[in-house]
């Protein structure tokens, strides 16, 4: 299906302006470049539209804007189109026509031996025609055929915009780089994902270290508590003993002084 798309980019002098245009399917497209307002009275000597070395005939849309019309129906038509305006100063605008980019995952997906892993690629804004998964074996990229190895790979095609690759019964060799390739009308685009396989021992070591630390801390706390309780009890017993002694001595002093007086009398 052909649609019209129109892009206008004001050009600034001495500044190289670039614009990325992603085309999911075949379109009729019009690209034009226009002088920025502050340069609108600049005298124009020459305007050229080029793709690589090939010059394309353009149309003068207005006094200060020039455009080209393209029918992008095959991969060959994609590329970089440059508009160069030469006058007192020269400025240029570049349009990069390309297939939509697939974002992979920068950080590796971590999974464990014997477990399963799911790798996901999606292309929300542009719907691809088909998805293919590749795994890297050395330097080669091998396509994954899920119908051949049903108990190892499952490719989910429920939604056209998203693809899931489920890898079951993981082993060490399953780790590495995977590619999801989306096929569009105008070409193919790849996204990169990394899979890391760990054995259960890997998280077990920090786990046991932390558990050991907790046990040591709790033991220390209880030992300290027993020790300080013993100290407290000893101190209290001494205090009570002193107090009772004090009271007893007070009493005996009083009795003595009375009896002394009696005796004196």
């Amino acid at each position: 299906m052909l649609r019209w798309l129109s892009f206008v980019v004001p050009g600034e002098s001495d500044v190289h302006v670039e614009k990325n245009i992603f085309l999911g399917s075949a379109v009729k497209i019009e690209l034009s470049c226009r002088l920025a307002d502050k340069h609108s009275h600049m005298k124009i000597l020459q305007v050229t539209w080029k793709k690589g070395n090939e010059t394309i005939k353009h149309i003068n849309k207005t006094e200060i804007s020039w455009g080209i019309q393209l029918t992008v129906s095959e991969n060959r038509k994609l590329g970089s189109y440059t508009c160069t305006v030469t006058g007192e100063k020269e400025f240029s605008v570049v349009f990069h026509l390309q297939v939509p980019q697939i974002a992979g995952r920068e950080k590796p997906v971590v999974s464990y031996k014997g477990d399963s892993a799911i790798l996901i690629c999606e292309s929300r804004s542009y719907t691809p025609i088909a998805w293919t998964w590749y795994m890297t074996n050395g330097s080669e990229q091998i396509a994954i055929n899920d119908s051949l190895m049903l108990d190892k790979y499952v490719i989910d095609k429920a939604d056209a915009n998203v693809t899931h690759l489920k890898i079951l019964k993981l082993t060490e060799e399953d780790g590495g780089t995977y590619w999801c390739e989306a096929a569009f009308e105008l070409g193919k685009s790849k996204g990169k994902l990394k899979l890391k396989i760990l054995s259960l021992m890997v998280p077990l070591k920090p786990f046991l270290a932390i558990v050991a630390e907790v046990v040591i801390l709790i033991t220390l706390i209880f030992v300290f508590e027993l020790y300080s309780k013993k100290k407290e009890k000893r101190a209290e017993d001494e205090k009570e003993f002193d107090q009772i002694e004090q009271l007893k001595s007070e009493e005996s002093n009083g009795v003595e002084s009375n009896s002394a007086r009696h005796r004196k009398v």
């Binding site: 950080k107 997906v109 971590v110 999974s111 464990y112 477990d115 799911i118 996901i120 899931h164 760990l198 890997v202 998280p203 077990l204 920090p206 786990f207 046991l208 932390i210 558990v211 907790v214 801390l217 709790i218 706390i221 209880f222 508590e225 009570e240 107090q243 009772i244 009271l247 007893k248 007070e250 009493e251 009083g254 009375n258 007086r261 004196k264 009398v265």
Partner: protein, 501 residues
Amino acid sequence: MPPHSDAGPVAGPPDGGWGWVVVFGAFISIGFAYAFPKGIAIFYKEIQDFFGTSYSEIAWVSSIMLATTYGAGPISSILVNRYGSRPVVILGGLLCGIGMVSAAFCTSIVQLYICVGFITGLGLALNLQPSVIIIGRYFLKRRPIANGLAMAGSPVMLCTLAPLNQFLFDNYGWRGSFLILGAILLHCCVAGALFRPISADKVSVKTQSIEEGKEVLKEEVTKDAIEMNSPTNIHMETKTEEEEERDCCEKVNKYLDFSLFKHRGFLIYLIGNVLMFLGFFAPIVFLAPYAKHIGIDEYSAAFLLSILAIVDMVARPTTGIIANSKWVRPRIQYFFSFSIAFNGTCHLLCPLASGYTGLVIYSVFFGLAFGMVCAMLFETLMDLVGASRFTSAVGLVTIAECCTILLGPPIGGTLIDTFGDYKYMFIKCGAVMVLAGTFLFIMNYYNYRMLAKEEKKRKAKEEDTKPQMAQMKFKPVLLSGQGITSTLLMLALAVKSHQIF
């Protein structure tokens, strides 16, 4: 501090010493209880992809965890009433650890609901309540500071857990992270080990026995001074104190103190707080999405939450210190109502904030208000019902708050979906909180007045019984006076006789 109508025989809590170590333990315990459910949200996307579920199914994990943490409050209270804080917190830590370790080996989302949601949630509930309770046992004069410091654990733990969880996830995937988080949660057991039991009864009995000993000895010395009334008076005093103690013990051993529902202060607190929680958590949940909605990029939106957490961290202990000052402490309920209303006003003004700078200012004030409310959340309840009944009170309050806490964010979400605009959610939250603050302010004014009246009545009663006591007290004084005069006479006679001699 305003008198509460049922001050039990709580003899001087330490207000320091080992109490500060207990505050540190409570800091860790409370920190995990509040921050952990928010911290594991990082893993949800991966788990969602792994099990192939929708976002709402994953969100149930958080909801179940939160519901269990608040809903198991009464269970916590019963256990603390029976066994004390320490064993309950250690049990809670073990449950958390077991829950997360078993979650690492889950093979379905339902198993995750049970392991992460239910078991870990229960463990966190057994951490939260006892930590707050034991602060009430260790502190009285400096309790607001202790509460503020302990509650500061929540934002500090959140700021620590968020990058830690990200690091664990990048290196070990979600299964390995759950395993290691299980070990990390065992630190709640360490916090529990620090909660040395302190019982007010033991302290008063000990001082009593020494006093009794002194009394007995004094009786022997001033034999002629002893009237019939005084020993029975002393014996009566010790007897009534013992009886009171037994009554108190019975109350403590009773499972959950439902008579709190007749307590005026408790009811005021309950209604006000249940209303407040309807609008308390929703703005935090929707702050980052709102920022993204008005065009702010993801990292700056996340930074807003960091600003909130940092301001919160500072606000909590500061509020504790302010609440402890002699001007605020007697009127702490007003301060609490003010902070709730302030929080509500922030939300009402949020829709007026335009651009990133406006949202940053909102985050700062929100963090401040949030910290103020949280720091005093349990302090005000302790202030109203007293430390002895606080154990049951906190359990009953948390299970009542459970419903509104769970309803708050979904109602906010529905408002956003219906109107397509975030401002109605902010207005609803702000209005609810301003209403709650005003309600608490008015009702506490009424409560203070009633308490003052009751105090006057109690003092008047004491005045009536005083003359009788004074009579009884006078006699021994007079009689011991007799003893003194007799010895003086004897002394005079001795001197005279000596002179004669």
